[in-house]
């Protein structure tokens, strides 16, 4: 009997060790995106630092930048948006989040309000399997970070019908064990508690520029969805939950290139918000963004668009939200750090990005001083997007009316002064951080741009780049140090550095 008991203890001990090893293995092979995105949420929520939660889909992830919001307005927030999140997924994301924090405001985007299915693994009758797989995959990004508990069980049961797929969310080792052949140093570092973090407090920036934004007919004024959808039901639940907890709710419909159905859904979101007497901002028709410069693709904002939307919401929250400016306050050092890192990243990226559109987009932020030069005969004069991006920096229409160059723009971000010249026009005595600049066009492939303090350096001429028709120089807006000098050649609306 004694031997039998000892054997049973050994078996139990062995099972415990095996279980522990499996847990460690599961931690290593787990896809880290979800943990990375929400790592800072857990630490900031624990400190009670989060005043605003942004909820929604990828529109929200790409549309609102909490680091920028803090940097410019001092508002502490976290972007909880999930790629592909329909309203029910957003609802459960919020419920999970509220288990950790008590924000003063919840901003919820109502994109996909028209979706009228309950289960993400079923969707509609004719939904292709590929779409369902993508949806399930995206839900992992939202759900993997949450610990296995009754709340998660309830969430998964509500979102997924297939019991086998539910298991994949509850025990994600089922899905991720075959990542063994793609593990990186970061995957192992998690064992020593080193989590990579999202750096933008849940937000993500995109840097492409959509060159062909789509348009769709407007619906009849005030037209609403023809049926009460699952999306509407869950928007109501979100508002209900927030009101029950005394949290302010702002419903939004962030801008992009909407279809007619999206516009109808936006109208319906307003009706739902109205039913609960909560504020609603339908940004589709407010002219906050320029669809020719501020979209990454037809569905998502780029960094410039995100800046505009973040600024709009920042102003609204400052005016309406009764929120404290936490900048520089004790306990909010991490937010200060994120804001500084964001500014530094944007500054660096403004010079290093290898795409003319993206670079012009980033120069709009004014984190660095810049010189943009288009030579005579450059293809960019036929490119409305490029001209619009430059015009947004200058704040004038000068480049927009040009059909040929040369054209120069000097944006001295430190002083806030912008200078332009085109054709035979010259510039002189232009005070910038680089010095007092002089610009003089001479002939098609030769021109001067130098600082009076050092006439030896002609910034706009280089024998090696004589055939390049576009030059972009970035410089530190305080010291004037040149950070980058890029040359582009135009091929229609394609711009190449080689």
């Amino acid at each position: 009997m004694k031997k039998r008991i000892i054997n049973l203890i050994k078996i139990a001990l062995f099972a415990a060790v095996v279980l522990a090893c499996i847990v460690v293995a599961a931690t290593v092979v787990r896809r880290k995106e979800s943990n990375d995105k929400y790592a800072d949420f857990f630490t900031q929520a624990e400190k009670g630092n989060i005043d605003v939660l942004f909820m929604g889909s990828s529109h929200m992830i790409n549309g609102v930048n909490p680091a920028s919001l803090y940097k410019d307005y001092g508002i502490t927030s976290y972007n909880m948006g999930g790629h592909g999140s329909v309203m029910q997924a957003t609802y459960w994301e919020l419920i999970e989040a509220l288990d950790y924090c008590s924000p003063k405001w919840v901003v919820v985007d109502a994109y996909m309000l028209e979706k009228n299915y309950q289960y993400l693994d079923v969707m509609n009758e004719n939904t292709p399997q590929e779409d369902i797989d993508t949806s399930i995959d995206q839900l992992h990004l939202n759900m993997d970070c949450w610990p296995l508990n009754r709340l998660k069980l309830a969430a998964i049961s509500d979102l997924i019908q297939d019991k086998e797929i539910r298991k994949e969310f509850l025990f994600d080792f089922i899905v991720y064990h075959d990542r063994w052949n793609e593990l990186t140093k970061e995957d192992y570092q998690v064992l020593s508690g080193q989590n990579a973090s999202n750096k933008l407090l849940g937000g993500e920036l995109r840097y492409e520029v959509e060159l062909k934004p789509s348009t769709s007919p407007d619906p009849a004024e005030g037209e609403q969805l023809s049926e009460h959808t699952v999306g509407q039901e869950y928007l109501m639940k979100i508002i209900d939950e927030c009101q029950r907890r005394g949290i302010g709710v702002l419903v939004t419909y962030l801008p992009f290139c909407p279809t007619t159905e999206d516009k109808i859904a936006a109208n319906s979101a307003g009706v739902v918000a109205g039913m609960y007497d909560v504020p609603y901002i339908n940004m589709l028709g407010l002219g906050i963004i320029d669809v020719y410069t501020d979209l990454n693709d037809t569905g998502h904002l780029n960094a410039l668009g995100a800046k505009k939307v973040t600024d709009y919401l920042g102003n609204w929250l400052v005016a309406t939200g009764d929120l404290e400016d936490h900048r520089g306050q004790a306990g909010y050092e991490y937010y200060d750090e994120c804001a500084a890192r964001y500014a530094e990243d944007m500054r660096n990226f403004s010079g290093s990005v290898n795409n003319l559109y993206s670079q012009l987009e980033l120069l709009n932020f004014g984190d660095v001083g810049s010189v943009v030069y288009f030579n005579q005969g450059s293809g960019s004069f036929a490119d409305a997007s490029v001209k619009e991006l430059v015009a947004q920096i200058t704040g004038t229409d000068k480049i927009k009316i040009l059909s040929d160059g040369p054209y120069i723009m000097i944006n001295d971000a430190g002083s806030g002064n912008v200078y332009e010249a085109s054709g035979e026009e010259a510039l002189s005595g232009v005070a910038t951080a680089m010095g007092t600049m002089v610009y003089q066009p001479v002939e098609q492939r030769f021109r001067f741009l130098y600082a009076q303090e050092n006439e030896e350096v002609n910034y706009l001429y280089d024998d090696d780049h004589i055939w390049y028709d576009i030059q972009v120089i970035t410089y530190d807006k305080n010291s004037g140090e040149v950070l980058s000098h890029k040359y582009y050649r135009s091929y229609g609306s394609k711009y190449r550095e080689d």
Partner: protein, 494 residues
């Protein structure tokens, strides 16, 4: 509930725990309940066919055994007893084989007949009960053994039902014999910790072969057989299928044999390093041993074996292998595969004088290492060739694969082509390491060294380390999870 599912493991360990606690005389009842529950979880409708097979063979066994008993005491009834015995025996055989034919081969035979007549065959779609090929052979072997008088008919219906439906064997064997299993139900051994450890290690080894190796190879093989291209890459595909089917079926066999051992039941071995065989005849003594021995005992020997002359012996070999092929599946590809193996052996016998001549001429030492290696490689390549017919959907497709695999393009090994068929470099490396491990373990087995026994003799910390590493390798590197078909054991379809 498939043997590669988590549910099976939970089920197995739950049954093992109960089995460990129960008094020995009641254990067969527990195993019976578990077996019937297991089968019902797989195929509820199939239970009816299983019940018919069990009840008819059980009743026939009792009838024959009863008559034999009377015969022994009353000589005047002897002829009458034999006749009734034969009638019962024949009817029972016809019924059980008939069920197997109807469920498994009706469509195939009808299709073949109609094809010969040049007509379109009617669509016949009957879903064969799971495991019918395996449990029918078990039931028939019992019946024949009773008829031969080598065993007594089992009077305890529960034990007989358990014999036929034992859950570790009912899906894909091993096709064990009644005298081995029923005696263990009657006199169960005490399950000690050593048996548990040994069984657990064997299960782990089975999962490694199945989930880490066979299912990984299956990805490559499916890609190659789905779209064969001329070149060495197709030859590699055929080699990997040869290894896949071994790892798949041997892996399964290890799992169920280990599972049975955990329950205190010693099941017959099914594989003994078959690819290290030096001849086709030896290969069949090492491959799917439970089936090979069944075919030998119940078909080859009753046909006369090698006792009725050389020509008859060759014919018997061809018949046995044709039956073996047909047993594996209702398709001419399986028949060709079986006949090819029969032919290998017949040709081998016919060529023996020639081989002996050359061996003598060149003074080849038959016991030399080099000679053994050459024999093993040739045997392996012959087996590999036959497996192409086994894997291909049609005979034409098999010839296509063989033709394309003969095209010599060795640069696929170095130009990255090898990694464009579903397995990247890491997976290929893992596969290579796994195959080397299997080879080493098989080599040790051939030399009488059982690795499990070696491991079990190590200190506790080392045993645990080995087992935990093995568990992690299977759990992390095994092919399972979303998209994995847990019922994908190749032999389960037979």
């Amino acid at each position: 509930m498939q043997v590669t599912s988590f549910a099976f493991l939970v089920f197995l360990f739950a049954v093992a725990a109960l089995n460990y606690c129960l008094p020995r005389k009641f254990r067969y009842i527990l195993l019976l309940i578990a077996s019937l529950g297991f089968y019902a979880s797989l195929d509820v409708k199939g239970c009816i066919v299983l019940a018919i097979s069990i009840l008819t063979t059980y009743a026939a066994g009792l009838l024959m055994d009863g008559s034999a008993g009377t015969d022994g005491q009353a000589g005047e009834d002897k002829n009458g007893g034999f006749k009734s015995n034969n009638l019962v025996f024949a009817l029972c055989i016809v019924l059980n084989v008939g069920m197997l034919v109807v469920f498994k081969y009706l469509g195939f035979f009808a299709g073949s007949v109609f094809a010969v007549m040049g007509k379109e065959a009617p669509t016949i779609s009957i879903l064969a009960p799971i495991g019918i090929s395996f449990y029918t052979l078990k039931a028939l072997s019992y019946l024949i053994d009773v008829k031969r008088g080598t065993i007594k008919a089992e009077r305890n219906l529960a034990k007989y039902v358990l014999y036929v439906s034992f859950f570790t064997q009912i899906i894909s064997g091993p096709i064990d014999r009644a005298d081995n299993l029923i005696s263990q139900f009657n006199y169960p051994v005490t399950v000690d910790i050593e048996m548990l450890k040994d069984g657990f290690l064997q299960i782990l080894w089975g999962y490694f072969m199945k989930l880490v190796l066979a299912d990984r190879m299956a990805i490559f093989v499916a890609d190659i057989y789905g779209n064969p291209v001329p070149g060495t890459i197709t030859f590699i595909g055929t080699l990997l299928y040869t290894l896949e089917i071994y790892c798949d079926f041997a892996g399964y066999s290890h799992i169920v044999i280990g599972a049975a051992r955990i329950l205190g039941i010693d099941v017959m071995n099914n594989f003994e390093a078959p690819y290290l065989s030096g001849s086709i005849a030896e290969f069949w003594r090492r491959w799917h041993i439970s089936l090979s021995s069944w075919l030998k005992d119940y078909i080859y020997i009753p046909l006369g074996g090698n006792r009725k002359g050389v020509a008859r012996k060759y014919l018997n070999i061809l018949i046995v292998f044709a039956v073996s092929g047909l047993w594996h599946g209702a398709n001419w590809t399986f028949v060709v595969w079986g006949l090819l193996h029969g032919l290998y052996q017949v040709v081998g016998y016919l060529m023996k004088p020639v081989r002996d001549f050359w061996v003598k001429l060149f003074a080849v030492d038959r016991e030399s290492f080099a000679h053994k290696v050459v024999k093993t490689v040739i045997t392996f390549l012959l087996v590999n060739l036959a497996w192409v017919f086994f894997r291909a959907d049609t005979i034409g497709a098999a010839f296509d694969v063989i033709g394309k695999s003969l095209s010599f393009t060795p640069w696929v090994l170095t130009n990255g082509e090898l990694f464009r068929h579903g397995l990247d470099q890491a997976n290929m490396l893992l596969l290579l390491i796994g195959v080397v491990i299997v080879f080493i373990v098989d080599l040790m087995n051939v030399r009488g060294i059982i690795l499990r026994e070696k491991i079990l003799r190590q200190p506790l910390w080392l045993r645990w380390l080995i087992m935990i590493v093995a568990i992690l390798v299977v759990a992390v590197c095994g092919i399972w999870g979303p998209g994995y078909d847990a019922s994908s054991f190749i032999y389960q379809q037979f």
